[in-house]
Symmetry: C2
Subunit: 344 residues, 2 copies
Amino acid sequence: MDLSEVGEFGLIDRIRKISPRGSREVVIGIGDDAAAWRPTASSTLLATTDLLLEGVHFDLSYTDYYSLGWKSAAVNLSDIAAMGGTPRFCLTALGIPATVSAGQVLEFYRGFNDLLRRYGTALIGGDTCASANGLVVSVTAFGEANGRSIVRRTGARPGDRIFVTGTLGDAAAGLELLQMGIREPGRKKKAPGPEAHLLERHLRPEPRIKEALVLAGSGCASSMIDVSDGLSSDLLHLCEQSAVGAEIREEAVPRSPALAAVEHELHQRWPAYALSGGEDYELLFTVPPRRLVKLRSLPLNVTEIGMVRKGRSLTIVTPEGRKRRCGRTGYDHFPRAQRSAAAQ
Amino acid sequence: MDLSEVGEFGLIDRIRKISPRGSREVVIGIGDDAAAWRPTASSTLLATTDLLLEGVHFDLSYTDYYSLGWKSAAVNLSDIAAMGGTPRFCLTALGIPATVSAGQVLEFYRGFNDLLRRYGTALIGGDTCASANGLVVSVTAFGEANGRSIVRRTGARPGDRIFVTGTLGDAAAGLELLQMGIREPGRKKKAPGPEAHLLERHLRPEPRIKEALVLAGSGCASSMIDVSDGLSSDLLHLCEQSAVGAEIREEAVPRSPALAAVEHELHQRWPAYALSGGEDYELLFTVPPRRLVKLRSLPLNVTEIGMVRKGRSLTIVTPEGRKRRCGRTGYDHFPRAQRSAAAQ
């Protein structure tokens, strides 16, 4: 079905019909000049926006539309999680090239909405327009938090321990498998196995909403960020904003059994996927020593990987005990020239 | 200055330094995973998002970056105005091609921020990334409103009078002047004259925030929308959502002296610019007969152009008294094929 058969307003109508509408607090959903809702009394509001551009953030020969929709929602909800907030609403704007059909757009929204429904989040508005240059996805997510439990990037102090949820490097390894021509046999009938796990981690990441709420509610985390650009890059962001340095033990960085199983097929050695590969959407956070006992009592799958230090640099300790200073090796959209990197 | 000399995070830092930060209620501005603020007690929140894509919504040979930033803010604040809300905060995401310099990006933000400052609105977050395919602008605006004074598209009733603020068609005429090769001599040293006025209306539209607040506060408007796609298209949106029809008198549609002065140079006759030309960002609203006296007491420059009718169609009455039924002639991003339009 061609988009010109449905028209802009027919398309919006179909999107509205398949989207989660939210509860009574939503005063106006999809279809007016703006969406409207009544915030919960005494809550602090959170808002974040992310662009996903064809040819930069995704490749339509690697992802199906359902997975692209899922991931577009997940990366935004992950930013709400990284503040310790509860996601509530989304707005989504799509710039759609003439090559994309109405069915593909609706498949995008099916994936988007399935992720939203997992976390009780409603789609309340957005924008659809033609694009002359590739598919453009823009998502804005809103969350709510108790003002006292918001976890910022600025609270890490020397002596705090550094933790991550889950495992790191899977999404980057999944991307490399896609680049090597390995594909999912199908979302629903996928064969079990390490490749399938890594592809899923890249294509349909799971934002750590529940883990973030447990952490924020416990008061254990002094700072937090989600791992979107890569461990070294995101840890450096956190260090910069807290005015501290960090030391992590390479051996301690959690690797999934799936990644260990396929590592011999991949081009890089293991820690590179965790350190420089982004898009895992795990939580990276720091915990003051006095909170460690409480942290260990929480129902969380987390791994201690290092310690916050004075200074501003990030040091990686190899399994052999060598220390190397680590610059930002994750994703920078406008990377500095080698010359200026050397002068840093 | 090349973006690779500044880097993604250097750029974000420079944007933060030139942006309005808002008042004490902003808990977290630019730089964390999400922005955070404390909403005013008892207010209803409004949120809207719009994409502006190079080659679809703007042409960099027509607009300077300052004006593009201004307009990107204006079109979003206009959606908040059309609900009767007060704009409060924005998030902005930019997808930036390699051909665009850091200076041009900052010029975009200067225009964006100048418009925000006019209406006491703060820039509290966003996203910047590389684009492989042209400049991508995504803006999300948040507003607040008293729940009872929100004006939706759904409240028009037969017998209500139809009004617009300001004049219509100027922005479309301005675009045609640009397409004819006419340019602004410069934003600050522009020559007075009708062309300059029309170019300004296209390049740096003024959202009708103050007018919308006066109207919403008065309770006079039964429905409202901003004129972004063109009078006929936006009036049809409003009619559809209110389940009514409308009749407008062509003669009554307000035309600016500037448009009248240059009309002989343009390719179309006058009413076409108002009916089908979008981007005026005036307010189109309906008023029940019992509120007309109160409306006329308000400090507003508004013009009555017609009446809400039963049915679902839009009728235009020409100066000669002929009536013609009007389909949607404004902008549709995925226009229906002729065949299906005929079958409508």
